[in-house]
């Protein structure tokens, strides 16, 4: 048996240990990326193998909290892929406008940048006060950051171009209060968002929503888990509700290919087919 076969066994055992001990289910996550990130964590904590990492995580809950930061990927920014937000403004907002009240689910919201980007967009379209954003993630540290809504001023400044490309009509700095090089989003944005812990791998649908935005989350899942997540979105959406995915994510290889129609193919915006 080669050393890479042994790493495979260790990897499966680590994921099983995490599931049984902490009820986080990474067993249907893509292995390519997860193996690399867990090996990096082992190296960082000077553990000589994934087996040693497993021993530590079983006996030391605080270590698992740290490990979770390696297992989730918090890459996000305000108005990331501005063309997506521009397409929402042009093709989705006009229809959402016709509902008396709106619910939006941002699944895998990480540190919250996408939620606030959407809230700003909805504000400029005069929809914010009738919208509730449900923002969910499995990483409690990320959720806490998202809930606080405080970001380095630099990250707001960096987003200026994206904001403009996304069709932004005001100034980003209008939305924040700046103090000590940090900017916090104003209460009128914050109070429309509910942040909570939710796993696409183990939890169920919790609300009926008009729009689900889940970007660059499915790329970390295998086919079966992608199907589970898409099933939750499908069940959660109202008839003819909208689904937005990341630029490289597709329904093509999933069981939900015919359950959605395409609104904007390059921006990965879909609409639940009414049956």
């Amino acid at each position: 048996m080669s050393s890479s076969d042994i790493v495979d066994i260790e990897l499966e055992l680590v994921l099983e240990a995490i599931y049984r001990r902490y009820h986080y289910d990474f067993r249907r996550y893509s292995r390519g990326s997860l193996r690399r990130r867990l090996q990096q964590a082992a190296e960082r904590y000077e553990l000589r193998s994934l087996s040693a990492l497993q021993e530590r995580l079983l006996h030391d809950p605080s270590f698992f909290g740290a490990l979770l930061q390696y297992m989730t990927v918090p890459t996000t920014e305000f108005f990331r892929d501005p063309s997506y937000f521009l397409a929402l403004r042009k093709q989705v907002i006009p229809i959402l406008r016709t509902y008396p009240s709106l619910k939006v689910w941002v699944a895998g919201c990480s540190t919250g940048e996408e939620v606030y980007s959407l809230a700003m967009l909805f504000h400029e379209e005069n929809l914010l006060s009738k919208t509730i954003f449900y923002a969910t993630d499995i990483n409690p540290e990320s959720l806490e950051k998202a809930r606080r809504g405080i970001y380095p001023l630099e990250s707001i400044r960096r987003a200026r171009d994206n904001y403009r490309l996304a069709g932004g009509r005001g100034s980003l700095t209008d939305y924040v209060t700046v103090a000590y090089n940090a900017s916090s989003f104003k209460p009128e944005l914050l109070r429309q968002a509910v942040f909570s812990d939710h796993s696409l791998a183990t939890d169920q649908v919790f609300a009926e929503v008009h729009f689900v935005s889940c970007r660059n989350v499915l790329i970390y899942f295998d086919h079966e888990l992608q199907n589970r997540a898409l099933g939750l979105f499908h069940d959660s959406l109202v008839r003819q509700g909208f689904l937005g995915l990341g630029p490289k994510e597709t329904l093509q290889f999933s069981s939900f290919k015919s359950a959605f129609e395409t609104v904007n193919a390059p921006e990965r915006i879909f609409r639940k087919v009414s049956v």
Binding site: S2, S30, Y220, Q226
Partner: protein, 205 residues
């Protein structure tokens, strides 16, 4: 390196049977690939995965540019797609590209590795994990050190390694960084790498 040395290594590769070829390049890479890919012949026993550092642009024109010079179909890799023999896959700009045990692609937005996303190291390391001894990894021209550590991983898992002769490369740093870490099976100029690919895909293999 002599033609005889190339022929010996090719004979070993054929005996073992390659399951995958992965090619990494950075600065000067598009020009190098335009010279390399026309040599792919009618023996289509394995896929070729290509990763070049390029700024993220939409649409990604590289598959069209390289496809024009190649008899094999050239496509951007899709999330979840199973790798097929006789196809050239290009890593999409902006994402790390991984292979899964079931020979499908997965993507990641982890932080850049060696200042690069996609990183050559990430893809080659992942291919080494999946294909082990049945992998050929080729590292071409480049102005950084991406890929070198993964070439070492390929060698450690029993796969074949070919590095472009740095003096013949548009930018020598990347092949040089690899040569500091390992002694590859072959160090070749570009036209010799083209001949190697032609032999591996000659159709009578």
């Amino acid at each position: 390196m002599t033609a005889a040395a190339v022929d010996t290594v090719v004979a070993r590769m054929r005996r073992r049977g390659l399951a995958c070829v992965v090619i990494g390049a950075s600065a000067g890479g598009v020009e190098a690939l335009v010279k390399l890919l026309p040599s792919l012949g009618d023996g289509r026993a394995f896929p070729v995965l290509v990763i070049v550092h390029l700024p993220p642009e939409e649409p990604n024109l590289l598959p069209d540019i390289l496809g024009y010079h190649c008899r094999w179909p050239v496509r951007e890799a899709c999330q979840g797609e199973t790798v097929a023999a006789g196809t050239v896959y290009i890593a999409p700009p902006g994402y790390h590209l991984y292979l899964e045990r079931d020979h499908s692609f997965s993507f990641g937005l982890e932080a850049p590795v060696h200042f690069s996303r996609p990183s050559i190291s990430v893809l080659i390391d992942s291919a080494a994990w999946v294909y082990r001894a049945e992998l050929l990894a080729v590292l071409l021209t480049g102005a950084n050190e991406d890929g070198a550590d993964a070439m070492k991983a390929v060698q450690e898992s029993g796969g074949f390694t070919v590095v472009q002769e740095p003096a013949s490369a548009d930018s020598p740093q990347m092949p040089q960084a690899a040569l500091k870490l390992l002694e590859p099976d072959l160090v070749l100029e570009l036209d010799e790498i083209a001949r190697l690919l032609a032999l591996l895909t000659s159709g009578d293999a």
